[in-house]
């Protein structure tokens, strides 16, 4: 092999290697060497957790950049986010660290913010929110376990006693049963006797349970009660209708109760009636005198006596003189 061929092969091999390194770089790192670097945003957190350089920055789940670096800034941790230049992030958007999986990888998620709000520019700080991480959740679960343990301990003490002479529920129940064994036995015996009687159809309850006729009668009584209730309901509905009718000022009663003119007429009528009764009581007018003055009565009595006598005379003198006799008696 001559020298030129050897040189060509080495050159080709070297170029192939460089090309492969370039392809690997493009594939694994997105190949940002000669591309637009985008712009950076500062995100301050109390704790950047497991966030590393190169982790994703995502908006609504879409990758829009990566973490440039994480560093301490005074008493807080700061993550520098490199965002693609085509993506505009509103000033009110917030950044949050999320867990990408249980293997420890994290990413920064940025909210969409409000449409129309001016976007953040290079080097500006984005507001952040804190979410509980896996360790916090596990710590909370540990606390929950302790509380559950305490609750179960209390329950156990309540059930079994606290070991200091205070009996638990089960011990108290045991004492109760032991102390009242005879009474409980007698009560159970009575209950058995009652249940036997019921089963045998004795007594009211027994008959009710065992006698089908009684059951039918009871059912009929209930049906009647239902019918009565239906009628009562209908009656109440009618009464309600009448009341509504009256309330609406219709009919005589309604007009009387709700029509001002009718009320005024009634008031006037009552006033007139009262005036008349006052006059009657005072003996004024014809009717008042007729009621309170007995002279008319006496005169009438006298006249009736005279008429009686006249009739007697008429019986005797004949019908022709009857008119003259009556006229004389009257006048």
């Amino acid at each position: 092999m001559n020298n030129a061929q050897q040189t060509a092969r080495v050159g080709l091999f070297f170029l192939l290697g460089v090309a492969l390194i370039w392809v690997t770089y493009e594939t694994l790192s997105g190949g940002k060497l000669f591309r637009d670097q985008g712009y950076t945003l500062i995100a301050g957190f109390d704790d950047v957790k497991d966030l590393k350089k190169g982790d994703d920055v995502r908006m609504a789940g879409v990758k829009i950049g990566s973490i440039d670096l994480t560093r301490l800034d005074g008493r807080r941790a700061v993550a520098v986010l490199r965002v693609d230049s085509g993506v505009l992030i509103p000033r009110d958007a917030t950044a949050t660290i999320y867990m990408a999986g249980l293997l420890g990888s994290n990413y920064v998620g940025i909210g969409m913010g409000t449409a129309g709000v001016p976007p953040l520019s290079d080097g500006q700080e984005i507001s952040t929110t804190v979410t509980p991480d896996f360790n916090t959740i596990m710590s909370e679960l540990g606390n929950l376990g302790k509380k559950l343990d305490g609750a179960l301990g209390s329950f156990s003490s309540a059930m079994n006693g606290d070991g200091k002479g205070n009996g638990g529920l089960i011990q108290n129940l045991d004492h109760l049963v032991t102390d009242n064994r005879d009474k409980i036995g007698a009560t159970l015996s009575n209950l058995q006797s009652v249940s036997e009687k019921i089963n045998n159809g004795e007594g009211t309850l027994g008959k009710l349970v065992n006698d089908p006729d009684l059951h039918d009668q009871l059912l009929a009584a209930i049906n009647e009660l239902k019918a009565t209730a239906t009628q009562a309901n209908s009656f109440m509905a009618n009464a309600q209708g009448i009341v509504d009718h009256v309330k609406s000022g219709q009919g005589s009663l309604g007009m009387l109760l709700y029509d001002p003119q009718s009320a005024e007429n009634l008031r006037v009528a009552v006033q007139d009636f009262r005036d008349v009764s006052d006059k009657l009581a005072k003996g004024q007018g014809t009717l008042g005198k007729l009621i309170s003055d007995d002279s008319l009565y006496l005169s009438a009595q006298s006249t009736m006596k005279k008429a009686d006598r006249a009739l007697d005379g008429m019986t005797d003198s004949g019908p022709i003189t009857a008119v003259g006799i009556v006229a004389n008696a009257l006048f």
Partner: protein, 250 residues
């Protein structure tokens, strides 16, 4: 005591050889033909064996990972495992071992022969430093070729794993899912770290082999002993340095 002294002498002479060779870096453009020749020997002729070996190492890695992971239901992470393992560890170490066996042994044999047959002495007599003519082109060639060999080994190994995942019945992972998982968890930094390791291994292997070859005394039997010694020392150094370089890079 004698062994410790021998080890210290070896370390010292290797460092001296490196420093003397680096002092002639300015002469490298005038030795381009030697540099190209060494690139051809170290890189081009080593490529087939690197390709075959890395393909099967990637395949076996995917097969073993699939067999182990099938009980856990995490088959989708085979791509990540093969990608990271090859890029960070197996690729550079495997290439370094192959370079030791194929190139390092040849370098030691060649230089030891030159030394035994007094060709090196003749060069010195002609005022041609052996470090300039024999060591520097090899160092430069291995420095250029190791990253290239490593990245080729990585890519061939990744594709070997993908093929096994697709055609093995109990894995049945599509290449798309395999490479998606690989891209998700394998970063270019992992590949770059692997290339740095390979570079360190390559330089150490060539330096050790050159040093042992140039320090050979005796006859043909000593040539064979030097080759064996060079390969053994290189392999040990690769694995020892692997730990420390990894520790530094992580």
């Amino acid at each position: 005591m004698r062994q410790i002294r021998s080890i210290l002498e070896g370390v010292g002479s290797t460092v001296q050889l490196l420093l003397r060779a680096l002092s002639y870096v300015a002469t490298l453009p005038r030795q381009s033909s030697r540099f190209i020749e060494q690139c051809y020997l170290i890189g081009y002729t080593t490529l087939p064996i690197v390709g075959i070996l890395s393909f099967f190492i990637g395949s076996v890695l995917a097969l073993q990972a699939g067999y182990s992971m099938q009980n856990f239901g995490v088959m989708q992470f085979i791509g990540s495992l093969v990608g990271l393992s090859l890029a960070r560890e197996l690729g550079p170490v495997m290439v370094a071992i192959l370079v030791t066996g194929r190139v390092g042994s040849a370098i030691t044999a060649e230089l030891a022969s030159m030394k035994v047959y007094q060709e090196v002495d003749a060069l010195i007599t002609m005022n041609i430093p052996p470090e300039r003519m024999l060591v520097l082109p090899r160092l430069a060639a291995v420095a250029v070729m190791m990253p290239v060999l490593t990245v080729i080994a990585n890519i061939v190994g990744w594709f070997g794993g993908a093929m096994i995942c697709k055609y093995t019945a109990f894995i049945s992972l599509s290449p798309k899912a395999y490479f998606a998982s690989m891209v998700q968890y394998t970063k270019f930094k992992d590949v770059f770290d692997g290339m740095v390791k390979a570079e360190v291994f390559g330089l150490v292997v060539v330096l050790v082999c050159c040093n042992i070859g140039l320090n050979t005394r005796g006859g043909p039997r000593e040539i064979g002993a030097s080759v064996t010694r060079a390969v053994v020392v290189s392999l040990i150094l690769i694995l020892v340095l692997d730990y420390f370089v990894t520790k530094i890079l992580i």
